[in-house]
C-alpha cells in the first residue's frame, strides 16, 4: 500500500492508498521507501515546536499539518504574508513541500491550504471577508468532515462548498448530523472556533530576536543575562519567584534547543537563576546559529512560601542556592536527604528522597528509631558470606567476606527481625514463613572492626543456613 507519493509519481497517476502491485504495474521502476509514521510525526512535532517562535499557540494537525494562531503576532513579524512566506521557505529548505494559508477562521485557512489550486510552496492570504468567495469553488472535503459524510454529500451532487451556501439547514441536519452546518459556519466565521485554549499572553515569558544568529556560549550567556534581568524584574513586581524556568533557543535550521532549571524555593534573583542556567548552556547545540531566545517561567510561587525542612533555621536561606546548584548539575534525584520510614526491616527503615521533593518537605512525620544499635553504613543488598557457626543459635566463630577471613572475637545477639509478611518475598526467598526471619548479630573481629551479620530463616538440621553481611558499625 502506498502511504505517500512524490510529485513525479503523482503525475504518473499514482496516489496514496493504491496497492503496491497496481503501482508497480504502472511504474515498474518505482522506488520505494518504507513509511515511517512515527518519524514523520516526530519531524512534524519538531517543526511545530519551532513555529513557536512566531506564535505561542501552535499545534499539530493530523499527520501533515500545523496550526498557528497568529492573532496579534504581527508586531513580531512585518506582515502576515511575510510570516507565511517565511514558514514555507523554511519548510522548503528543510525539504518539505508546504503550502500556507492565512484566513480569518481556522476552517477557511484549512480548506484553502489543502484544497485551493495553489502552486507548490506558495502562500495565500485571505483578506477579511474574502473567505466566502474563496471557499465556494473548493471541494466539500475542505470542510473537515468525516470521509463518509463527504461521500454522501458528493452523491447528492453537493461537490463544492459553494453548493452548500444556498441549502436550507433544516433538511441537512437529520441526514448528516449537525456537523456539516457547524463546519460551514465555522469556516465562514459565523460561529467561533478556538484552535487552542485562549489565555492571555503569559506575562512570565520574555523573548529576544537576535539580529545575527549566535552560536558561541558567551553570546548565549549574554543574551540569557539580559532576558533573565527582564524576567526577574517582572516577577519582582508581582512578588513572585520562579520555581522552574525554561530557556528555548530557536535555531535557524528550525530546531529548538531547550534547557530547564528548577529551584528549591522561589527566587527572582537574576544572579542566582542566571548562574543555574549558565551551567547548562553547554547542553545547547547551537547548530548553524540561534536566531531567537525565549525565557519562560514555567512555575512561579509567592516568595518565601516554602522552607527546605533541613531544620537549619536561618541557615536555610544560604543553603537553598547551594541545593539548587547541586540539583542542577547532579540531577535532583542525586541530592538527597534521609527520611525515617515505618518499617521493621532495616533496609526499609529509611528512604533517601530528593531534597527538592515537595512531598517530603518540612519535618519527618516520625522519629528515627534509636532503641537498638544500628550500623552507620548499610549495604543496600546484603552480601552473602561464608560462616563457621556452632548450631543452632550461636553467633559465628569465623566468617569470610569478599575472600577475607574475619575471626570473631566478640559477638552480641541474636536480634530477631521478622520480615513483614504482607510484603512480596525478595529474590530467592520462598515467601514469608520462617524464611522471612532474620537473626542479626553484632560481631567484632580481632582487629576491632564491627559488622552486622544475619542468618536467614530458622535453623534446620538438614539445610546449610544462609548468612549475610548487612552493615558496619564504627
Amino acid at each position: 500500500m502506498l502511504a505517500a507519493v512524490d510529485p513525479a509519481a503523482a503525475l504518473a497517476g499514482l496516489a496514496p492508498g493504491m496497492s503496491l502491485a497496481d503501482a508497480r504495474a504502472r511504474l515498474p521502476d518505482l522506488r520505494l521507501v518504507d513509511a515511517d509514521p512515527a518519524g514523520d510525526a516526530q519531524a512534524l512535532a519538531g517543526f511545530a515546536d519551532w513555529c513557536g517562535r512566531f506564535s505561542p499557540w501552535t499545534s499539530v494537525d493530523g499527520a501533515d499539518g500545523i496550526w498557528l494562531d497568529v492573532t496579534g503576532c504581527v508586531p513580531l513579524v512585518p506582515s502576515e504574508e511575510a510570516l507565511a512566506r517565511e514558514l514555507v521557505e523554511r519548510a522548503a529548505r528543510l525539504g518539505f513541500a508546504a503550502r500556507a494559508a492565512v484566513a480569518d477562521t481556522p476552517g477557511a485557512a484549512w480548506a484553502v491550504a489543502r484544497y485551493a489550486e495553489l502552486p507548490a510552496s506558495s502562500v495565500r492570504i485571505l483578506a477579511a471577508g474574502e473567505a466566502r468567495a474563496a471557499l465556494a469553488p473548493l471541494p466539500v472535503a475542505g470542510l473537515r468532515l468525516a470521509a463518509e459524510i463527504t461521500q454522501d454529500l458528493k452523491r447528492l451532487g453537493l461537490k463544492r462548498i459553494g453548493d452548500l451556501y444556498g441549502m436550507a439547514r433544516a433538511p441537512l441536519a437529520p441526514r448528516f448530523g449537525e456537523a456539516v452546518a457547524r463546519r460551514l459556519d465555522q469556516a465562514l466565521g459565523l460561529i467561533e472556533e478556538p484552535i487552542s485554549p485562549r489565555q492571555p499572553i503569559e506575562p512570565r515569558m520574555v523573548r529576544r530576536i537576535l539580529a545575527e544568529p549566535i552560536s558561541t556560549p558567551e553570546a548565549i550567556e549574554h543574551g540569557l543575562t539580559q532576558l533573565m534581568a527582564l524576567l526577574c524584574r517582572r516577577l519582582e513586581e508581582e512578588g513572585l519567584g520562579a520555581r522552574r524556568l525554561e530557556l528555548a533557543c530557536f535555531r535557524v535550521d528550525a530546531q529548538v534547543e531547550r534547557i530547564a532549571i528548577g529551584t528549591s524555593r522561589p527566587s527572582h534573583e537574576p544572579g542566582h537563576l542566571g548562574r543555574l542556567m549558565t551551567e547548562k548552556i553547554g547542553e545547547i547545540a547551537p547548530g548553524f546559529g540561534i536566531e531567537l531566545m525565549q525565557l519562560r517561567a514555567l512555575a512561579v510561587e509567592p516568595l518565601a512560601a516554602r522552607q527546605l525542612g533541613l531544620d537549619a533555621g536561618q541557615a536555610d536561606g544560604a543553603v537553598a542556592p547551594l541545593v539548587d546548584r547541586l540539583a542542577n548539575r547532579l540531577g535532583a534525584r542525586n541530592v538527597l536527604r534521609l527520611m525515617p520510614e515505618n518499617s521493621h526491616l532495616p533496609e526499609r527503615a529509611q528512604r533517601a528522597v530528593s531534597v527538592l521533593d515537595e512531598r517530603h518537605g518540612g519535618k519527618p512525620k516520625q522519629d528515627w528509631p534509636v532503641a537498638r544499635p544500628r550500623p552507620i553504613r548499610l549495604l543496600t543488598y546484603p552480601d552473602p558470606i561464608e560462616v563457621m557457626a556452632p548450631v543452632p543459635d550461636d553467633p559465628p566463630l569465623m566468617f569470610r567476606w569478599r575472600r577475607v577471613p574475619h575471626r570473631v572475637r566478640r559477638a552480641e545477639g541474636p536480634e530477631r527481625i521478622a520480615l513483614e509478611w504482607w510484603r512480596e518475598p525478595e529474590n530467592g526467598q520462598s515467601g514469608a514463613g520462617t524464611d522471612g526471619i532474620r537473626d542479626y548479630y553484632r560481631v567484632e573481629d580481632e582487629a576491632g572492626r564491627r559488622f552486622w551479620l544475619y542468618r536467614r530463616g530458622l535453623y534446620r538440621p538438614e539445610t546449610v543456613p544462609a548468612w549475610f553481611l548487612h552493615g558496619f558499625f564504627p
Binding site: G309, L310, D311, A312, A315, G317, A318, V319, P321, L322, V323, R325, L326, R329, L330, N334, V335, L336, R337, L338, M339, P340, P346, A349, Q350, A352, V355, K363, P364, W368, P369, V370, P373, R374, P375, I376, R377, L378, L379, T380, D394, P395, L397, V404, V408, R409, R410, A411, E412, R442, E444, E446, A447, G448, R449, R450, G471, F472, F473, P474
Partner: protein, 289 residues
C-alpha cells in the same frame, strides 16, 4: 556532650592565643577569623595548634578499606557537636549511610544533605560549592582519588568563607602523593577492652565499647611530637548519650597490648589521664610561652 579530658592549661593561654593569631596572619589573609571546631577530645585538641580542627581548612582522614565504618564513625562523632551550626553536606558515590545508626551516633540525619556523584570530578565540584557556601557546619567527601591540585582547590574554597572540609580516604588511595590538607589523620578500629583486666572473656559475652586508634600524621602549624608524627590516641566510644573519651595516648603505634580503660565518666566530668605523657608531647610554642 563529650567528656573533656583536660590535661593542663592555665595562664599562658592568652599569650599563646596572641602568638597563634600572629602566625595565622602570616599564613595568609584567608585564615583570619575562620574560627575553630573543637573536637571535644581534650588531649587531641591540645595538640592541634588552634585547640581544635581549624575552620576554613581542609582535613584529611584516612581509613582502611576493609574498615568501612571506623573513619566515618570517628568523623561523625566529631561532627555531632557541630551539626547544631548548620546542615552538613556529604558527597559520595554510593550513599550507604544509615539514618538510625547516624542518629544513635549523635548526628541527626535531618541535618544531612547527601550528594550522590558518579564521578570524582562531580564530587570535588560539589565539595567546592559546599565549602564556598556560608551556613554549612561541614562538608564531607569520599573521593576515590585526590591530587595536590584538587585538594588545593578545596583548601582555597574552604578559606574563602571559613568552611570546614573533611575528606575521607582509603589507605591505598591515600598513599599516592601529598595533598594540601591542613591535617591528616589515620583512623582504624581497635579491639575493645575487657571489663576486668586479665580476666578471660567469653566470646559471646557481648560487645564492649567500640574503640578507635587515631593518629595525627600531619598538622600544619604544630611541631611533630616524635618520629611517628604528632600524636596517637586510643579513643573509646561512650554510651548512646554520645560520650567519647580519650582512653589513652599511645607511645608507639604497635598498641597490641591495650591496657584496660577506665569507664568514661558522665557528661561534663573532667578526668585527667596520664599527665606525664602529655608533658613530653608539648610543642615548642608551649615551651616558649
Amino acid at each position: 556532650m563529650a567528656t573533656l579530658v583536660q590535661l593542663g592549661g592555665g595562664k599562658k593561654d592568652a599569650a599563646l592565643a596572641a602568638l597563634r593569631a600572629t602566625l595565622r596572619r602570616l599564613e595568609g589573609p584567608g585564615r583570619v577569623a575562620a574560627g575553630v571546631a573543637p573536637t571535644g577530645l581534650g588531649p587531641i585538641d591540645d595538640v592541634l595548634p588552634e585547640g581544635g580542627l581549624a575552620r576554613g581548612a581542609l582535613h584529611e582522614i584516612v581509613g582502611e578499606a576493609a574498615d568501612r565504618a571506623a573513619a566515618s564513625g570517628f568523623v561523625l562523632r566529631l561532627l555531632a557537636g557541630l551539626a547544631a551550626q548548620g546542615p552538613v553536606l556529604w558527597c559520595l558515590a554510593d550513599p550507604d549511610l544509615y539514618g538510625p545508626g547516624l542518629q544513635r551516633l549523635g548526628l541527626a540525619p535531618d541535618r544531612l544533605i547527601l550528594a550522590r556523584t558518579r564521578r570524582d570530578a562531580d564530587l570535588l565540584w560539589a565539595m567546592e560549592e559546599g565549602l564556598k557556601t556560608p551556613g554549612l557546619a561541614a562538608v564531607l567527601g569520599e573521593p576515590h582519588g585526590l591530587d595536590l591540585t584538587a585538594s588545593r582547590r578545596l583548601q582555597l574554597a574552604a578559606e574563602s568563607v571559613g568552611g570546614l572540609g573533611l575528606v575521607l580516604r582509603q589507605a591505598e588511595a591515600a598513599k599516592a602523593g601529598a595533598t594540601a590538607a591542613v591535617t591528616r589523620w589515620r583512623v582504624a578500629s581497635a579491639p575493645s577492652a575487657v571489663a576486668v583486666p586479665g580476666a578471660p572473656v567469653p566470646r559471646d559475652f557481648g560487645l564492649m565499647r567500640g574503640r578507635w586508634r587515631v593518629s595525627l600524621e600531619r598538622c600544619r602549624g604544630a611541631a611533630p611530637a616524635g618520629e611517628h608524627g604528632y600524636g596517637h590516641w586510643l579513643v573509646e566510644e561512650g554510651d548512646a548519650a554520645g560520650i567519647v573519651a580519650v582512653a589513652q595516648e599511645l607511645g608507639d603505634r604497635s598498641g597490641a597490648s591495650a591496657p584496660p580503660v577506665r569507664p568514661a565518666g558522665p557528661v561534663g566530668q573532667v578526668e585527667p589521664i596520664r599527665r606525664a605523657v602529655r608533658d613530653r608531647r608539648d610543642t615548642p610554642i608551649r615551651q616558649a610561652g
